[in-house]
Amino acid sequence: MFYKETGQFKSRYKDELAAFPLFEDKIGIGILCVLTFLVIPMFGLPGLNYEFAMGAIMIPCMIFIIMTLGLNILLGFAGQISLGTGAFSGVGAYAFYKFITIFPDINIIIALVLSGLVSAVVGVIFGLPSLKIKGFYLIVATLAAQFFLTWAFIRVAWLYNYNASGAIEGPNKEMFGIIMIGPQSAGMTRYYFVLVTLIVLTWLASNVIRGRIGRSWMMIRDMDIAAELIGIRPLVAKLSAFAFSSFYIGIAGALMVFFWLGAAEAESFDINHSFLYLFMVIIGGLGSITGSYMGAIFVWVVPVLIKEIGKSAFGFDAFVMENFSTILLGAMIIIILILEPHGLARLWQIAKQKLRLWPFPY
């Protein structure tokens, strides 16, 4: 149903290798673009306060999608587990802060890319142990990054320009004559900036994943010994995954602070955030870009909505709802792992497959 694949044949490899080879999927993407570029900025989300919808749901969701994409590249595509995501996102945020304060005239996009690169370098350094170790051992190595870096965010005052508050704050800064970040920036500006960044980053990630480099990650993930015997250098494959992943996470960290929160301290990058991002990846689906989208949205939106509903409809206080959503999140992880280890992405895939095969079961 909906899908009519009859007659959709490919006579060039290029078409065969396209991101969305099916016509119906292209339509779907088109609809999503119209929604995010026009409909949502105009009307917000149904049933929600406009400011809330944009500021507490849309913008953070998009940023977390970038974050999840980053972690998914590492965990889902390259099979390297990391509990240091929060800290790596902090590296991006602090780097961005330093770039725009040291070079006040720097273009925001350039600053963003540079922050991503700084994060990538740090990611590679802490990814070095992955060459010798796997699985649980790597968890500890990335935990070292997590604790060491958050410690540095507090103790190295240079990082936050010796602010008394110990926080990094976005100054007003413009690009092409429009104030992009800082207290005076318009929510709409930030929304579109994040949206475009997300689309560009998604496109780049999907390209890399389908190409030579992406394949080398999956080879290492699926069977590292065979990969090596085919000529993959584990060093290059693993470190490139760490670099690429941290690049995304760094950019997401910078976006989080300067396009959403406005200001942040070290605790915005603590281990609990690492867990949160890990959950987004697991619930969304390991090794799936669609999954990264679904995971980030689900993990962010469901608790927010629960809190809202609990507060407004049942009058529960924030403390109760907070704990309730923590439990829910944990339980979701367990349930997902038991029922569908490949996450929401797999459910989506199954549903899509059903539609494609409709009315047949196979």
Partner: protein, 651 residues
């Protein structure tokens, strides 16, 4: 039509026309190396010319017979056309024919060259080439596995193309001379009939006949160069030659070749042809697969399928044929189309089908209605090799399941006193190759050709109605009509029944052999936890027999309503212990039952069916896939079925 026959009376002319008129439209596609490789008319024509020159250089003479053997692929179609360009006569052969069958045809037509698909065909020809007089060289398409073969008389088609692409004024001149010499009366192709009776005969067809008949058919259904088809039927079969080569060339339509037989279904779906030709067994198999798969679907889907299929049965044909249908019914049909029909057509690859044809055998009304009610414009046509296929076709607004249409332009029909159908047509064959006796028996001095089929013109519709092969139709002892195929087709409509053979000519009553369909019955067995290891074991299961008994009685019930056919009800039947197999000579490669042969081979079973025994022991020779022979022994039980009284139709 007039334009066609006057100017464009040869294949080379048609090709030249296509290049100038549709030069950049796709002409041939083949699923190869994962994608649909495409050649436009311009590119195809270049290939064909190169091939022609290469073949001239190889030594192919005018009037030489060139065998073409292999699965459907552009290079083999080009080979056919190249032969026609250089005045040689292409002889397409069935690729699954065994070496002896090939030997018969190749020596009969005195082929001097063979253009083949792959190693398998090369091996077969090498095996018999010593015994063929005047046979020279083999050209192969796929070099795989042939590296170590002696290349003296073996050439790769790419080498031939290479030779043909060289700059040689001499070759160009020779090609030009030969093409100009090809006229409407030049032999276009030599096609061997499948041979339901005895050895196959070579039908000689001229360019004029082929183009005349296909042109009439194209005009009848307004084919254009925007049409595209899937060429998957054996190239040696006249139907494929007419549709893929003659009609395709005539209209400038695009020919699409699947990757291989096992991916045909997938490739069909990818291409989504606008015109599709399928023999009745294919339609039957597809429908069976639909029902089997729906059987496994979730409850909701099953219910929805049943509900909407019932609705389609009610109004589907009326909507397709643009008759008046109530608004509510129309809405319901649209909903059904969204939920079931359109997705179903999509899954089968028929979403874009503008016209679908069935021919080559009778098709049961139920099967025919099933597809039409889904909105697939399935139509019947009637013809035969000797007539360049097309004799009668159905117009879009006059499609019936029990008739096969009206004569197309250029065809005249008459019914002989014996009931046999005779025709005169632009597409009539020239002669049977080296068989004047058979030619004389079939074609009289005035040009009337006997079809060998019995039929009559239906009074209500004015369309031709076929009863059966003229020589199969007989009488029961009580004088009632015996038309076995009609009944067999009714039986085969049931997914569980793969083949049926009816006996009863000059007997008291009718009896039948049945073959179960392993897919359908196997599926049923799995669901009911019945274990089996072979066809034989499943066929001898008594529950299976009970199911078949119900089917047979359903058929009897239906026959009882038809005054002409009620005598053909089946009183007894048995389930054969082996599947009828072309390798054993029981059916033709196009799956037509060889009645006389079976009657003789299973003589013991037939007489048992007419005795009072409840079961019969038998021993049968079988041929295994690798050519070895062996024996099957079995005890078959004979099942009695209920016979119904003739009922006057209530309507």
């Amino acid at each position: 039509m007039t334009e066609n026959s006057a100017v464009l009376d040869t294949m080379p002319k048609l090709l030249a026309r296509n290049v100038s008129k549709f030069g950049d439209s796709p002409a041939f596609r083949e699923k190869d190396l994962g994608i649909w490789q495409t050649w436009t008319w311009k590119e195809s024509s270049e290939e064909i010319h190169k091939l022609s020159k290469g073949l001239i250089k190889l030594g192919v003479q005018e009037g030489d017979h060139v065998a073409v053997i292999g699965r459907n692929r552009p290079s083999l179609y080009w080979s056919l056309l190249a032969c026609q360009h250089i005045g040689a006569i292409p002889v397409p052969l069935y690729q699954d024919a065994v070496a002896e069958e090939m030997e018969y045809i190749l020596s009969h037509c005195g082929a001097s060259f063979a253009i083949v698909g792959d190693q398998e065909q090369v091996d077969k020809i090498l095996e018999i080439s010593d015994r063929l007089k005047g046979f020279k060289d083999i050209v192969f398409v796929d070099p795989k596995g042939l590296r170590k073969y002696d290349k003296k008389n073996l050439h790769s088609i790419s080498d031939i193309l290479e030779i043909g692409s060289g700059d040689s004024a001499e070759l160009d001149k020779e090609l030009k001379r030969r093409v100009e010499k090809v006229i409407g009366d030049t032999t276009c192709v030599l096609l061997y009939t499948s041979g339901t009776t005895g050895k196959s005969k070579g039908v000689v067809q001229t360019h004029r006949a082929i183009i005349g008949a296909s042109g009439g058919a194209n005009q009848h259904d307004s084919w254009t160069h925007h049409d595209y088809l899937l060429s998957y039927l054996p190239m040696a079969w006249v139907g494929d030659f007419m549709i893929s080569v003659a009609q395709g060339m005539g209209a400038g339509a695009c020919i699409n070749c699947p990757e291989g037989p096992e991916t045909m279904q997938v490739d069909l779906r990818e291409i989504g042809p606008s015109i599709f030709f399928g023999p009745p067994p294919l339609w039957e198999r597809l429908k069976t697969s639909v029902f089997i798969r729906i059987e496994d679907a979730a409850f909701f889907k099953k219910v929805a399928f049943k509900y909407f299929m019932a609705h389609a049965e009610k109004v589907g044909r009326d909507i397709l044929e643009k008759r008046k249908v109530g608004l509510l019914d129309r809405l319901k049909y649209s909903l059904g189309n969204f939920l079931i029909y359109a997705p179903l057509k999509n899954m089968l690859g028929f979403s874009n089908v503008r016209i679908a044809y069935t021919a080559g055998d009778l098709i049961s009304a139920e099967l025919f209605d099933f597809y039409r009610s889904l909105g697939i414009n399935l139509k019947q046509l009637y013809g035969q090799t000797e007539a360049s296929v097309f004799l009668t076709m159905q117009g879009n607004d006059e499609v019936f399941s029990d008739t096969v249409g009206k004569p197309i332009e250029g065809v005249e029909l008459k019914i002989a006193p014996s009931g046999e159908i005779l025709y005169k047509s632009v597409g009539s064959f020239k002669e049977y190759y080296k068989n004047p006796k058979a030619t004389g028996e079939t074609k009289d001095k005035d040009g009337w050709v006997a079809t060998g089929d019995a039929g009559y013109i239906d009074e209500d519709t004015g369309q031709l109605r076929i009863i059966d092969r003229a020589k199969d139709v007989g009488k029961l002892k009580n004088g009632a009509l015996f038309a076995p195929k009609y009944v067999e087709n009714k039986l085969k409509f049931f997914p569980n029944i793969l083949e049926a053979v009816l006996f009863g000519d000059k007997k008291e009553f009718c009896v039948a052999f049945l073959n179960i369909d392993m897919t359908a019955v196997g599926n049923w067995a799995e669901k009911n936890n019945i274990s089996y290891s072979s066809y034989q074991e499943l066929a001898s299961n008594s529950e299976v027999a009970n199911i078949l008994k119900e089917h047979v009685e359903d058929v009897n019930m239906a026959l009882a309503k038809d005054s002409m056919m009620s005598g053909c009800q089946i009183r007894k039947f048995l389930v054969l212990h082996k599947e009828l197999d072309p390798d054993d000579g029981e059916i033709t490669r196009t799956r037509k039952v060889k009645r006389a042969f079976i009657n003789e081979k299973y003589d013991d079973l037939v007489s048992a069916l007419y005795s009072d025994n409840g079961s019969v022991d038998t021993k049968t020779e079988v041929t295994y896939e690798d050519g070895r022979k062996g024996y099957l022994e079995a005890t078959l039980s004979i099942v009695d079925a209920t016979i119904y009284q003739l009922q006057e139709a209530a309507e």
